[in-house]
């Protein structure tokens, strides 16, 4: 998702309109979470990536937020009027890519 215009919603008179048009766009593909669900989570108090994640499951799926974290950061940036560096990213956890239970705990490879 790409927003037109400048970084902050106060500088972008079309922001609300844009959000309305794009509200059904899926931001987190793995968990099928839309833009409007993410904005709702921010309105309910989420202030960073983990806050959005815990409220919506965005970033909890197969890719572990590899694509949507950056998008969510942009949405947070616009909703909270903050610079990206002031928005905490999600916690990195192993495994880096999915591994099977067998690869992890098998004794027979």
């Amino acid at each position: 998702m790409k927003f037109e215009g400048s970084r902050f919603q106060k500088d972008n008179p079309n922001y609300q309109e844009e959000v309305l048009i794009k509200q059904d766009i899926i931001i987190c593909r793995c968990e099928e979470i839309t833009l409007s669900e993410i904005i709702k989570a921010i309105k309910e108090g989420a202030k960073d990536i983990n806050g959005v994640k815990r409220r919506t499951r965005a970033g909890m799926g197969l890719c572990q937020g590899r694509t949507c974290e950056k998008l969510i950061q942009q949405i947070l940036e616009k909703e909270l009027k903050k610079f990206p560096k002031n928005i905490k990213m999600g916690t990195d956890r192993p495994p880096i890519k999915p591994v099977t239970f067998g690869e992890l705990g098998g004794k027979d490879q």
Partner: protein, 389 residues
């Protein structure tokens, strides 16, 4: 400066439940949370609400009461926290376990709890993917499960509707007492909250808040790690635990599981929890490693090994994430839900170890009744901090 009848410190399942039940009584309450709601232990745990592994008597009664309160909450709060009561299963590996299991089930049945034995044929008919050598099981019909983060968010939003004020990303810096040593105010990095009652719901961090009023709270972090599986077919639809671990934990006889000593050292026991998000969680582990929430490869391997032992079919399912959380451990395994005689107006609701999520509504209810000066739904003597004197 703002006045509140009560200030709750900590925005996990316990704190949000306390805030919710207080606000329902019309008490003006503030909740102060250092980070975000459900960002500590309540955001790094599982959602089991089980009587399965409880001691006979009061321990079981606490969880059972909490299950009833949770069911009530699903109708009262306008937020789906994915509560479902489908029951849980214990799987039994050996004759020795079977003997102890039969005794446990008989006792719990006498007390009126819905538990029953399953023989070898029945357990394999019920769970076709289970390893062939499992000799039996127990079904615990009332056991349930929920989403701990959603429970915390739901309770805090509902408390807010009732007039509670949530101060998230706000740190408590001190607790002010008057000349007589009675609670007067809570100092935070965003300002002072005048109040007469403070509830310390900060789990593993409770000792820090305790120190602010010169109190020693005997809670230690006990780390646990979990694996998250990909969305796939579910090997079974209800929660499953290995019975051997409960036996080893409660030290029935000199019971030793047939398990590698490395796994025993890491405190690994098989727990399987399917979630409403079509994936499942695999636990569990236990370690005293301070406030460390990093996951370790040894524990991940151990959890996977133990999972395959019970469900060989899992070996081809993917693990997408591992995480660790900190249980607030108390050495007698009983939570501290208590007023503090030395500091009038100071309450503790912490130290639930692995049961904080399940016991959160009961915790909230008890504290709200204590503060309102009402009779409590369960006797609170055994939960008092005075037992450590």
């Amino acid at each position: 400066m703002t006045y509140f009848d009560a200030v709750v410190i900590g925005g996990g399942a316990s704190g949000t439940a306390v805030a919710y039940y207080l606000s329902k009584k019309g008490i003006k309450v503030a909740l102060v949370e250092k980070n975000d709601i459900a960002s500590g232990t309540s955001g790094r745990c599982d959602g089991n609400v089980l009587i399965a592994d409880k001691q006979r008597g009061f321990d079981t009664k606490m969880t059972y009461t909490s299950q009833l309160l949770l069911k009530e909450l699903t109708e009262k709060i306008d937020y789906d926290f994915e509560y479902y009561q489908k029951g849980s299963i214990f799987v039994i590996e050996s004759e020795e376990e079977l003997t102890v299991a039969q005794k446990l089930v008989q006792g719990q049945r006498e007390d009126g709890y819905p538990m029953r034995m399953m023989d070898k044929k029945e357990i394999h008919d019920e769970i076709p993917m289970l390893a062939d050598d499992i000799i039996g099981g127990i079904e615990i019909a009332c056991d349930s499960s929920l989403n701990p983060m959603k429970l915390s968010f739901g309770l805090s939003l509902e408390a807010k509707k009732n007039g509670a004020v949530i101060f998230d990303h706000t740190s408590v810096t001190g607790i002010r007492l008057d000349k007589k040593g009675i609670v007067e105010a809570v100092e935070t990095d965003k300002g002072v909250l005048i109040t007469k009652d403070v509830v310390n719901c900060t789990g593993v961090w409770a000792p820090y808040i305790g120190k602010m009023v010169g109190l020693d709270i005997p809670i230690t972090p006990r780390q646990g790690q979990l694996l998250v599986a990909e969305k796939t077919f579910s090997p079974y639809w209800r929660k499953i635990q290995e019975f051997g671990y409960v036996m080893a934990k409660s030290q029935e006889g000199n019971y030793k599981r047939n398990i590698r000593s490395e796994l025993e050292k890491l405190g690994i026991a098989f727990v399987f929890e399917p979630t409403l998000s079509d994936n499942f969680l695999i636990g569990s582990s236990r370690a005293f490693v301070g406030f460390d929430t990093d996951v370790s490869i040894e524990v991940m391997q151990g959890l996977a090994e133990r999972a395959i032992r019970f469900f060989p079919v899992m070996k081809d399912i993917h693990v997408i994430r591992a995480y660790a959380g900190l249980r607030p451990y108390v050495d007698d395994h009983i939570p501290i839900i208590s007023k503090v005689d030395e500091v009038p107006g100071f309450y503790i609701a912490a130290g639930h170890e692995g049961d904080g999520i399940g016991l959160s509504p009961l915790t909230g209810k008890l504290i709200s009744q204590m503060i309102a000066g009402e009779e409590t739904i369960l006797p609170i003597d055994t939960l008092s901090i005075n037992r450590f004197k």
